[in-house]
Amino acid sequence: MVLSHRLGEWAGNAPVLEEEVALANIALDLLGQARVLLSTAGDEDELAFLREERAFRNLQLVEQPNGDFAHTIVRQLYFSTYQHLLHTELAAGDGPFAPLAGKAVKEVSYHRDHAEQWTLRLGDGTDTSRARTQRAVDALWRYTGEMFQPVEGLDIDWPALETAWLERIARVLLRATLTVPEGPRVGAWAAGAGRQGLHTESFGRMLAEMQHLHRSHPGATW
């Protein structure tokens, strides 16, 4: 839901019309997935619009501001690669999330393809685009460790997922003539992190904007 919101901020601002369509498409898929998940847990609007920042459990990666197009694409690359691996594994199991994951994996494979193709174009494009993309790759790297912290109730081989993720990302970055960052992927800056309701500073403002109207009319239906 949070990443969908961030992608929604691109509407009307994309570098080409085709990307208006593509980014909105991905945002809609993600919102659809979020609605199914939230509805499983309770009332989707109550959960989306009436929780405070500290009660949100999203990864810090997905709440990162859009930045430039490269920043958005790299965030998408990191997340959709992760989501694809996770959903593939969930879909293969017989847990409660298997049906949802089975549907999502098809959408996510499109998202991953989109992000990979753009990473290649931007990395192996012009000097400017390579520099911007490398900057995004480096800047977002620190938020990627959190994805592989075990989540209660999900029976997943997290280290194996992480290895597969690193391999796939490294392959794409190298083909895009980019360098795989050497910096740490977890650390004090993320202590506790999104899963524990500890978020980065921009997240509160994002929620303020997202929730304002709903909260101004308590009990109203829309």
Binding site: A11, A24, L31, D68, R121, T126, T221
Partner: protein, 345 residues
Amino acid sequence: MATAAARGTVGGRTHDAPDGAGDGAGDPLVGSAGHERAFDAAVAADERIEPRDWMPDAYRATLVRQIAQHAHSEIIGMQPEANWITRAPSLRRKAILMAKVQDEAGHGLYLYSAAETLGTSREELLDKLHSGRQKYSSIFNYPTLTWADVGAIGWLVDGAAITNQVPLCRCSYGPYARAMVRICKEESFHQRQGYELLLALSRGTPEQHAMAQDAVDRWWWPSLMMFGPPDDESQHSAQSMAWKIKRHSNDELRQRFVDICVPQAESLGLTLPDPDLRWNEERGHHDFGPIDWAEFRDVLKGNGPCNEERLSRRRRSHEEGAWVREAAAAHAAKHANGETGATRT
């Protein structure tokens, strides 16, 4: 032109057709007079003019202007609605609004493609939009101030657009007519969603009802202006009707729209902000009050509430995206032979 007969008469190719095959060299009928007669006959017979058919320069220019303006309106029209995506009050409404704005980008793409069949390019048209040499619909120079504006745009603005565009599905130029068929289907859907949004507000809390009424009060007159100037002041109308690009006059369409909206407003439980609005038994239509044409001209001239903002934002997105388009082009050039650069999955 659609039929082989018409094609045979004309030779069926223009001077700028990509291949020049079928050029009417040696055909006695293919002087410009022959072309023109065949074109007029095809239009009179309600046949479709196709990209490779001969057409008068002025017909081509009119279509480029109109289709481009239509495409630009879709693109600029994303802004007032996108303004509310991040603030939509429920996840369902947010999904609907995102899908709608995405559809608008898609409509822009169809329409630029239709314009390109006339020998222009998307880049050229965007350049004209950005430099103010081509216009977009005046309606998008009004701000969306509350959530209810999203509903008012769906109901009134899309409603007016549909009233204008349904007859264009029978427009004499084939690619435009076919684009309109696809677009009108999606627009009707958006219009129903807008109506439904307003209905939810109108039946909601007193604050929500007031929000809906306020939005309708602000969007009603600008929507009526979408049909263009009155018939006696519309400079392109007569020629466009003769060419069957237009099928009805501005005032006819405006009247049709008012007649459709009045009962809809009633079932919404909202009023239309026009004290002169009443049923005229004799005409079988609703009479309505005078439109503020000074305001219309002012907005068209660039002095509406959001003209400056809409165009600068559009320019900024384009400029800020330049490095991305350059990167894509550079990448494509590097990998033009064989290796596509796309990751196989």
